[in-house]
Amino acid sequence: MSDTWISRRGPGFWIGAIIGLMAAIAGLAASDAINGPTAIILMASTGGLLYPLMRSGERCEERSGTSSPAVRRYNRGMLAASLAYILGMGIAVWLTDALGMEGTVLWVIAFLPILPIFAMIWVMARYIADEQDEYLRHLAVMSNMGGLALVLGLASLWGFFEEFALVPHAPGWFSVPVWALGMGLTRWWLARGDNAPAEDGV
């Protein structure tokens, strides 16, 4: 793989590669072709693809004029937190499944995937505080509001449905992926058309 080949790939390629590899590893683990620890190590290894994903995203941002020093710091912070999350979750699941941890140690282990999530929230807060480009900051704040609206709305809806035994129990950690989904959708909605060439073509 040359740098040129890598640099030609867009974010969609890397997202597809990560999802494809994760699905393949999950399939191998489900069919008992590989054991649990091997699956966790392989899944954690796919985290290495987050770096080319981040770089391809940054190249898109630079081309479309949506980059800033704060955006680059945010990308690196999120990459580090995501890698820590994958590793922390893998280690925590492996330790509890394979070694049957319990008591105080289990409380400590449970924090392994939680702390990187706290780090992601902090990275987002720092981005909003650091971003000097007021329109990009406006987009980030509104996107976060969109994510928050989806989390609050869905959690309330699901919580009451669950209360009346209409739906199965949903784990609380779902809030972060739902927040990220709401944020991403809101950002896409608000920024659609922003990257289009100027009407005068320059």
Partner: protein, 65 residues
């Protein structure tokens, strides 16, 4: 709020990126302001006015009605 950014840029043969570089903002911001999608803060409006050597009122126009 309407504005004359596109005309003023064209008069100076500046691209959106040229203006963004002068204002130290992203091209996305210039595009959003130029198309009326986003109204800049007063400090940024003053910076835009300074870059063009005009007053804010000569660049940004009230919505009619």
């Amino acid at each position: 709020m309407n504005n004359r950014l596109r005309v003023l840029r064209a008069e100076r043969k500046w691209s959106q990126q040229d203006l963004a570089d002068r204002l130290e903002v992203s091209r996305q911001s210039v595009n959003a302001i130029e198309t009326g999608k986003y109204d800049p803060s007063l400090p940024l409006a003053f910076r835009i006015a300074d870059v063009f050597g005009l007053t804010i009122e000569e660049i940004f126009l009230r919505d009619e009605g």
